[in-house]
Symmetry: C2
Subunit: 193 residues, 2 copies
């Protein structure tokens, strides 16, 4: 048996390279000009043609989704590290802040997510697969330590924090942070003294 690809020939080297180039360029352009940046701008930055983008990502939304998945991975990977370096409740709070900071950079995405575009349908699933378990673990530890009440659904909380930060303004990141703190305090309301 060959060392790889059951059907047909090996994937072309240039195609793989361009895929990487594309994702990198898109990430940069989205960070600079927001997720509404024209596809042509991304193509130019990547030094590729428009057609190339559309072969890798049939719809503009697919490209956005791909970049988003990459970033979710990075955020999820931070959880075990924080859990290792901090007591349970503190780790929970710190991760929520890091998560909040990331979401804050994704402002333009909110609308897209709720637009019903099929390209984004898989994103919540990925969110659940990566981010939810990461948070659940932190939450369980904090819960076991008795510092938060028992009638809260961690999944809902995660969504709430996202909502909060998604629509915060660039200039006052503080506000979002304070509101997240308020939610955290809400979690403590009625917990063991």
């Amino acid at each position: 048996m060959e060392s790889g690809h059951p059907a047909g020939r090996r994937p072309r080297a240039d195609a793989q390279r361009n895929l990487g180039t594309l994702l990198q360029a898109a990430k940069e352009v989205f960070a600079t000009s927001g997720v509404d940046a024209p596809v042509r701008e991304i193509a130019e930055r990547a030094g590729l043609g428009i057609g190339t983008i559309y072969r890798h990502f049939p719809q503009r939304a697919d490209l956005i989704a791909a970049v988003c998945r990459q970033e979710m991975d990075a955020c999820a990977d931070a959880a075990p590290i924080l859990a290792n370096d901090n007591p349970p409740f503190e780790a929970l709070v710190k991760w929520l802040q890091r998560y909040a900071a990331w979401v804050a950079t994704k402002r333009g995405l909110a609308k897209a997510l709720h637009s019903g575009d099929p390209a984004f349908e898989a994103l919540p699933a990925y969110f659940e697969q990566r981010l939810r378990p990461a948070f659940r673990t932190l939450f369980a530890s904090a819960s076991a330590s008795g510092e938060i009440r028992g009638d809260i659904d961690p999944d809902e909380l995660l969504g709430a924090v996202a909502s909060l930060c998604m629509s915060a303004r660039n200039d006052d990141t503080d506000h979002a942070q304070r509101m997240v703190t308020l939610l955290v305090d809400g979690m403590r309301y009625g917990a063991k003294g």
Copy 2:
């Protein structure tokens, strides 16, 4: 002195009528198809030409802003009525729920608000002028009754609730409601027993 218009002749009757027709049509179309509905769709519904829309509202965003202002007025006007019919803290909660319900219908607006479009720059000011005082009054009463803690900024809370509901999904209005409740509980955390 004439009964009205310092410069030039009286505003044309058809123009005024069309302005009303336009706002009504826009409100309906936005409710049906979201704020991203094509301008042409609104024109058709109003039975007017595209040009007419653009004379009244130089930019599509101006029309959105105008509709938004109308709805803010309606929401603000509900505050004194609720305050009259309920005890302080209850009135506060009920108004927040009505406010939350309205914001939930404005999902597509979130992005627009943060896009830096000049047409929306006046909207926060209007928000403050109408909605903030309405809420402040309710908040002050509840605060005076000692049921909420003293270190919370009502303006921030108002924004937080908006953020929460703006990105809730159509199908689970409940989720948003629960999260609003969590914020409210956060307000109570540490208040007088």
